[in-house]
């Protein structure tokens, strides 16, 4: 089992998908064990792949990849190959995806118990993971696009899992269509890159871009189209609207979407193609600006949300923005490191909130929760750790990754970007504390909910604990010592890099500021939201009613889109339908038929029905034709 067989990682869950989809309903327990086993197998295989990859690793050149491809189709010069490409980025993504997916799968066994279509949930989950794994190991953009779309359709199926609920269906539709609009850009970008380089192979395209074989403007335009796809998938402004609504799916699905699959696809692809972004002047700046805008916007909106999952969703949007900021600073290490730590933390948070939801019998409104820590100690503790981690407190994972981020942003763009990024982190700290306090701490707001709350079974708390450990330690991967001890060439910066490896050195000033920001955020949050009365926060909201309303309504972006869709897109469709019905069909087609009929109704009077008239017509016709013929000949 070497890295060349990495495709097995995706193939096993994919195979199980077919088994479960076709026969799942006949299997005992809906075949959930098959699902867990499949992803467990992928998880185990990942270690073999990683070990094999590291055994190949060229410590001198500091860069290694393993690639394997087969010919797929050939039309003249248009040759398509499909294959896998395993390198450092792939290994990191594998680690994140397999780990989180496995935890989500195990958690779902408890969470989804007794749901209708239990087997179907697990089936689609397998396909979801398989597509994502395929996406990160694809060696060409065509395969990237294929798995990209498969990820999209799986998210559609999972978000809309409770299809009896109109809101779930609508959310699924919104997710699919919003990302699909980005995908239009992606496909255009891919084909534009192909047009210039004649290949879909990612490495060859990167070579071509780096060698300057593609004109600057052309390269910029095409990579921006590709980036549109990344924005859509990764819920960047202005495509971020689908992600909060995607909460309508079962909570484990949210965990998967937010942490390991779907949204990180955009980050992954940007990281993968980062050399091209670098080669195109200005592309990185666009990435940074999009990332910062999204991060700030999402952090603000999260303040005014009351649904646990919705708050978490906006925090994801914000963190995704920060990942793009990291990538925009030209540091794939920072971006992927943030992706990884965030994945563990966010999976933990979502599974934790899933645990809360199940423990309180499907209640996810913060206004009805509170004081749950005592009732649900394990969930509460892990959630607490995750909250602090997301807020960026040391020594928890996200502190280190955000530190890396700040360092690279500072280095690349200077103070303005650094300040904005920190602002986003600061806001995150505040609303995460708000979330935790209102859910777990203080006095219960709804007695009934509180009394029926209970801790969830081991199959759910187990993954929580495991992820909690990762949320604490995964940040340490930044240190070279830790990396080397695990057999890696060093810390994340030495493993994933663009041009040359960066040795991690902690910048005490930045770290201090970052720490200060996080602590300040946490304290302010605690001050504002502590206690049951909500006096301070209410006063705050009342002080700025319009801002509060704007935040509460997510800056009216959804309403704006709705307006555009209703009035714009559907309006055009009505116009086209009208045009087709009345102009093309009734006027053009039926109209010509009517003209024929009308002429007939006039000309019919020529048919007197009297034989002599007809005979006369014939005779005159003969005479006329003869004369005409003679004239023509003369």
């Amino acid at each position: 089992m070497g890295a060349e067989q990495a495709w097995l990682l995706a193939a096993i869950p994919a195979g199980v998908f077919f088994v479960l989809a076709l026969f799942g309903r006949y299997l005992p327990r809906g075949g959930d064990y098959l699902g867990v086993a499949a992803i467990g197998a992928s998880f185990v295989l990942f270690f073999f792949v990683a070990a094999d990859f590291l055994s190949f690793y060229d410590f001198e050149a500091h860069k290694t990849f393993i690639t394997e491809s087969i010919s797929w189709s050939e039309i003249g010069n248009f040759k398509l190959r499909q294959g896998i490409h395993v390198d450092a980025i792939t290994i990191v993504m594998f680690a994140v995806i397999t780990t989180v997916s496995l935890m989500v799968n195990i958690f779902s066994v408890g969470y989804m118990k007794g749901e209708p279509r239990y087997y179907w949930f697990f089936a689609v989950l397998q396909l979801f993971v398989a597509s994502m794994l395929l996406l990160v190991m694809a060696d060409n953009l065509l395969l990237v696009y294929i798995s990209w779309e498969l990820v999209g359709v799986c998210s559609f199926l999972l978000i809309g899992f409770y299809w009896e609920k109109r809101s779930a269906t609508e959310a699924a539709k919104k997710a699919f269509i919003t990302t699909r609009i980005g995908d239009v850009g992606l496909l255009i970008g891919i084909i534009l890159l192909w047009k210039e380089t004649g290949t879909f192979d990612i490495q060859q395209i990167i070579h071509a871009a780096e060698a300057g074989e593609i004109g600057q403007t052309y390269l910029f335009v095409s990579i921006m189209f590709v980036f549109l796809g990344c924005m859509g998938k990764s819920a960047q402004f202005p495509f971020h609207v689908w992600l909060p609504d995607a909460m309508e799916g079962p909570t484990p699905v949210s965990a998967l979407i937010h942490a390991a699959t779907m949204v990180v696809a955009g980050v992954y692809l940007t990281a993968r193609l980062l050399p091209i972004f670098e080669a195109a002047d200005g592309a990185l700046l666009v990435v940074t600006i999009v990332g910062l805008t999204t991060a700030l916007l999402a952090s603000l909106i999260a303040f005014a949300q009351t649904d646990i999952k919705r708050v978490l969703a906006y925090s994801t949007v914000g963190k995704l923005g920060l990942m793009f900021v990291a990538l925009g600073a030209g540091s794939p290490a920072a971006g992927l490191f943030l992706l990884m730590t965030h994945a563990f933390v966010k999976a933990l948070l979502f599974l934790g909130s899933g645990s809360v939801i199940l423990g309180t019998h499907h209640n996810q409104e913060m206004d009805k929760l509170g004081g749950l820590w005592k009732k649900m100690p394990i969930t509460g503790t892990t959630f607490f750790v995750a909250t602090l981690a997301l807020a960026g407190l040391p020594p928890l994972a996200m502190f280190w990754s955000e530190d890396e981020l700040f360092a690279s942003v500072n280095h690349e763009w200077g103070l303005w970007a650094l300040v904005l990024a920190m602002l986003a982190v600061f806001a995150t700290a505040i609303f995460m504390v708000r979330l935790f306090i209102r859910t777990f701490a203080g006095e219960p707001r709804d007695r009934q909910v509180h009394e029926h709350a209970r801790e969830t079974p081991l199959v759910m708390t187990g993954p929580l604990v495991f992820l909690c450990v990762l949320a604490v330690v995964s940040g340490l991967f930044v240190f070279n010592g830790v990396g080397s001890a695990l057999g890696f060439p060093g810390g994340i910066g030495e493993f994933v890099f663009l041009e040359e490896p960066e040795r991690y050195a902690i910048d005490w000033t930045l770290a201090g500021i970052s720490l200060a920001v996080a602590v300040a955020g946490v304290l302010i949050g605690a001050y504002v939201y502590w206690g049951n009365s909500l006096v301070r926060s209410t006063r705050l909201a009342e002080a700025m009613p319009r801002l509060y309303a704007a935040l509460r309504n997510k800056f009216y972006i959804d309403e704006m889109y709705q307006y555009v869709i209703d009035r714009g897109v559907l309006g055009v469709s009505y116009v086209v339908s009208w045009f087709d019905r009345y102009v093309v069909n009734d006027t053009g087609v039926d109209g010509s038929a009517q003209v024929t009929g009308y002429s007939g109704s006039i000309l019919k009077y020529l048919q007197t029905g009297r034989v002599p008239n007809y005979a006369m017509a014939i005779t005159l016709g003969v005479v006329g034709l003869t004369v005409a013929g003679l004239l023509v000949r003369a």
Partner: protein
């Protein structure tokens, strides 16, 4: 010379009789003129030395057809006061005249190949029979079937049905 004079007499007679058919004010007269006219054509066949055809002409037209027509006239008595001509008679005259002009000018203007001024070549009966029964055998048979069909059809059409 004698043939020519004779021809002219017959030709003028034929034309006059034909005119009688279409201009006469009595149906019966028309029918009688028609007999004459058809006989004139038969005479023309004689001039053209196709005696067999002349014979057929006299038998079929002079005999069968005219009898049929007379029979039909008797069965469909018409009101004597009624005009025999339709409203488009003047136009019909015009159309006929135009057609005549075209036909005559065409017959005169065309330069026919071959020997056209001399007497026509005699066509012996043997040639006709050979052509008719050997070369045109199948059409001949078909024509006979056609006659039979027409006969049956005519009977069916003209038959008095029950309840009429």
């Amino acid at each position: 010379m004698a043939t020519e004079v004779l021809w002219w007499i017959f030709a003028v007679a034929t034309v006059l009789l034909s005119a009688g058919v279409v201009f006469s004010r009595s149906v019966l007269h028309s029918a009688i003129f028609l007999i004459g006219s058809l006989g004139g054509v038969g005479a023309m066949y004689v001039f053209l030395t196709v005696d067999f055809l002349a014979l057929v002409q006299f038998l079929v037209y002079g005999g069968a057809v005219t009898v049929l027509i007379l029979l039909a006239l008797m069965l469909t008595r018409t009101d004597a006061k009624e005009s025999l001509n339709g409203t488009q008679a003047p136009w019909a005259a015009l159309a006929g005249a135009m057609l005549l002009a075209i036909l005559v000018s065409a017959s005169v203007a065309v330069k026919w190949p071959g020997d056209i001024d001399d007497a026509p070549t005699t066509i012996p009966l043997e040639t006709i029979s050979e052509k008719l029964f050997v070369d045109f055998g199948p059409p001949f048979v078909i024509a006979s079937v056609l006659l039979l069909v027409a006969l049956v059809g005519a009977i069916i059409l003209a038959r008095q049905e029950e309840g009429e």
